[in-house]
């Protein structure tokens, strides 16, 4: 009895109406012109709750075109609920080709990771940002934080790092690690692990940040300096892991701990699932890799 609708005619291309996209593109352009500056924008209600990536989705919807290839990751994985549903959303409303392959994607929307595979010029990385203001937990007043950005008063940011060292003997901030962009604005790189901070520095890809609930957009243009804050005697360091990925044997990548059973069994595996699968397809394997071969690249045509 079901009559399949041929298309969802009531929605504009990429869900948002053209006026909204225009407004968001203006905010993006301003963000690119002033790297690291948080541009206010009129964030729209999206068909998903705040905190699920409404900012990132709006940015993606505003820049995506019919020829784009979209990849969506959530904590590095292509197969989690958030990533799958956002990918399905754009497949439906923009009819774009979606992929899990980092290298062939033109737009990568991400929650909390930067892919291990180096990004190239022409690619756009769209971050979902929960709290764009790096000074927020130090100074609750928005009027004051905006003034501090305007006057470049960033001593307070180091107070937080000082507190870390005083309490833990080292800078214990591991994610949302504050950075200074092009020597001017201090920026929250969204809750990516600080492991990914060096990847932002002079990246050939354009990096856009969207915070839907907080109604802010900011950007790091390609080949822009992104320097993690630190002390002279406590320099910035990324996390290191004392074992390789249990599935693909990769080293110098960001690993997730996965609990295997109720008896304390666990393993460390690549957080970037695409990277891990590619390596296994290439014949690398770690000490816990199953014998069966996984299908690697999954590129699905538009609906």
């Amino acid at each position: 009895m079901t009559a399949q609708p041929t298309e969802i005619a009531t929605y504009n291309f990429a869900y948002l109406d053209e006026q909204t996209k225009r407004m968001i593109r203006r905010a993006i352009l301003k963000g690119i012109a002033i790297p690291g500056y948080q541009v206010p924008f009129a964030s729209r209600e999206m068909p998903m709750p705040y905190g699920w990536g409404t900012g990132g989705v709006q940015v993606t919807a505003s820049i995506i075109g019919p020829d784009d290839v979209l990849k969506v990751i959530d904590q590095g994985a292509d197969d989690t609920t958030n990533a799958v549903s956002i990918r399905a959303f754009f497949k439906k409303v923009a009819k774009v080709v979606v992929t899990t392959d980092t290298a062939t994607a033109t737009i990568i929307q991400t929650r909390h990771r930067i892919p291990e595979h180096p990004l190239t010029a022409g690619q756009v990385l769209v971050f979902q940002v929960p709290i764009p203001e790096p000074l927020r937990f130090l100074e609750p007043r928005e009027t004051e934080t905006r003034k501090m950005h305007a006057l470049e008063e960033y001593g307070l940011m180091h107070v937080k790092l000082y507190e870390d060292i005083a309490r833990h003997g080292r800078i214990a901030t591991t994610y949302a690690y504050p950075v200074k962009v092009e020597g001017r604005y201090v920026m929250d790189p969204s809750p990516t692990p600080k492991f990914d901070n060096p990847k932002m520095h002079r990246s050939p890809a354009l990096q856009l940040f969207g915070a839907g609930r907080e109604k802010r957009i900011y950007a790091v243009p390609p080949f822009t300096d992104v320097v993690s804050l630190d002390f002279e005697d406590h320099p910035f360091e990324v996390q290191t892991f004392d074992q390789p990925c249990a599935l693909c044997g990769a080293e110098n990548v960001y690993l997730d701990e996965v609990i295997l059973d109720d008896h304390g069994g666990h393993m460390f595996v690549c957080s970037d699932t695409d990277h891990c699968e590619k390596r296994r397809a290439d014949g690398h394997h770690g000490h816990l890799a199953p014998e069966t071969h996984l299908a690697s690249e999954k590129t699905e045509p538009a609906e």
Binding site: L138, L151, G155, V159, H234
Partner: protein, 258 residues
């Protein structure tokens, strides 16, 4: 003392609508001099202090400050960035309630170090050493350096606030009832400490207080305010021992004798 003042205030007035905050206040402040502003509550002391420290803009009048390079700058014509920079380097502001002047959720060490980091200090070891030094100067044990001010007593908080303000070696400190709300023995020690620091560092200070004993101990010169106007000013000892204005006479005779 040099032959040039540090701060020149001329005909400063602040009105809240038709009400007078302070009116036509004129004085000079020399380097290393402590000026007390006394008067009953509502007499305009705090309004005057807030205007001088540029936390409030006056309705009329001028105030000029001699910068470290010897240049005279008019305070109310400076940009906000310059004023805020002055505020955290060359000036200090000690609030009556330490919670207003401290960051209550970060450690004592970070509270002292914040100004250093704000002016570009990026060496943890040096910042911490300076913080330890300043805590000992205000008689706070070194092992309290990583405690939050929330865990401190009122007197300790006030001493911490003083350390936080003095760490950048300011030349002018504003104090709003620095001993208000403290019991007398703690007050006495704090005053002793302040007097020592002011003398050692050659600080100029403007102290607002309603406590004539505090004014007597700390200041060389005082101004008595009533209804927003200065009714009498002069050397502290002279004003307190030989008050001329009727209001000052009333004020001096109102001190409770124990």
């Amino acid at each position: 003392m040099t032959d040039e003042p540090l701060l020149r205030v001329s005909a400063l007035s602040k009105f809240y609508g038709s009400r007078v905050g302070c009116e036509n206040v004129t004085f000079d402040l020399w380097p290393g001099e402590v000026l007390a502003v006394v008067g009953e509550s509502g007499s305009g002391k705090t309004t005057l202090l807030n205007c001088l420290s540029t936390r409030l803009l006056p309705s009329s009048g001028t105030a000029s400050y001699r910068m470290r390079d010897g240049q005279w700058r008019e305070l109310y014509r400076m940009s906000e960035a310059e004023r805020r920079f002055l505020m955290r380097t060359d000036w200090g502001f000690v609030h009556q309630n330490p919670a207003d002047g401290l960051r209550m959720t970060v450690s004592a060490g970070a509270n002292v170090g914040e100004r250093l980091m704000a002016v570009g200090d990026r060496h943890y070891g040096k910042i911490r050493a300076t913080a330890v030094d300043w805590l000992s100067r205000v008689e706070i044990d070194e092992d309290r350096i990583d405690d939050e001010p929330r865990a401190f007593s009122g007197g300790m908080r006030q001493r911490l606030q003083i350390a936080r303000n003095l760490v950048t070696g300011p030349r002018l400190v504003f104090m709003d009832e620095p001993t208000g709300g403290l019991d007398v023995s703690v007050q006495a020690r704090l005053l002793d400490l302040l007097r020592g620091l002011v003398t050692d560092l050659g600080l100029a200070a403007i102290v607002v207080t309603h406590d004539l004993a505090v004014a007597r101990l700390l200041s060389q010169r005082m101004m008595v305010m009533k209804d927003g106007r200065v009714v009498e000013s002069g050397l502290t000892d002279r004003v307190l021992d030989d008050p001329r204005a009727p209001y000052t006479q009333l004020l001096v005779s109102s001190i409770l004798q124990v």
